[in-house]
Amino acid sequence: MKSEVERLDRVFAALADPTRRAILVRLAASEATVSELAAPFRLSQPTISKHLKVLQAAGFIERGRDAQRRPRKLVAAALKDVADWVEPFRRQWEARLDNLDRHLETLNKKEEPRAAKEPNRRRYQHRS
């Protein structure tokens, strides 16, 4: 359980940096070597390597097969993990706000004679 929290911390920390997110976007297109990855950023190769190390520790990237070029490639499953983590929450709010939208729509349909009884705003309670 603790290690799961630590893993998520690593995942979040890895994603919290714009350069690292840009690297992931680049790797989503195709695998790339460290120098290829460094090219679009005005950063030294050691700096890029440091970012890559963080991404690798979080499970986002791995080394490709070519031993000479040592390309890095994206681990799609890790990104899916992040999406899956948010999904139930997103789904819950989606349903809730759909409800709110429909509720407001029904209100607007039978609108108008509503202003007559303005309820007491202080502590009221409804049970069913």
């Binding site: 929290v5 407001l104 202080r122």
Partner: protein, 157 residues
């Protein structure tokens, strides 16, 4: 139970792991004042809060800074409660509360007759954010993820 009309899936959710914040945005077809009332009058909240579309079993609102609220979804022995304390009540644009250890900010802005709703949930840390996302879904219930999916699907489609 709310009428079952098809709606487009248009809730935008952004998780800022750096700031430990979740931001949800949505455009609603109503005025700010109406949306604010829908968030703060118990007889209205009970109609829409539960993702299934079923009315809440219990909805208590003490609408003042420091006042408590309690939204209980009840389905047999399986109940889920969302409870907290209001911090700021500034109709029609702003409502702030503390719930489950996080700060929730509801911000409303009217643009061309529609209300742009932003719900901002600020957690204390990355692991708290993680807890919040999980708890928001199934804390205090025996409900599994699969159940939840079936449950939302049944209520919504």
């Amino acid at each position: 139970m709310l009428p079952k009309s098809r709606t487009v899936a248009d809730t935008n959710i952004v998780v800022d792991t750096d700031a430990h914040t979740i931001v949800l945005t949505r455009v609603l077809r109503a005025s700010c004042a109406q949306v604010f009332e829908a968030w703060t009058q118990p007889e209205q909240v009970r109609c829409w809060w539960d993702p299934s579309g079923r009315p809440l079993a219990e909805c208590v609102i003490d609408l003042r800074p420091g006042g408590a609220f309690r939204f209980v979804s009840g389905h047999g022995t399986d109940t889920y409660e969302f409870a907290g304390i209001y911090r700021e009540i500034a109709p029609p644009g702003r409502l702030t509360f503390i719930a489950m250890g996080a700060t929730g900010r509801v911000m409303l802005e009217e643009i061309r007759g529609k209300t742009h709703l932003t719900v901002r949930i600020e957690c204390g840390s990355a692991s708290h954010l993680d807890d919040y996302l999980k708890m928001g879904v199934d804390a205090g219930t025996a409900r599994t993820l699969d159940n939840l999916v079936a449950y939302v699907a049944a209520g919504d489609r």
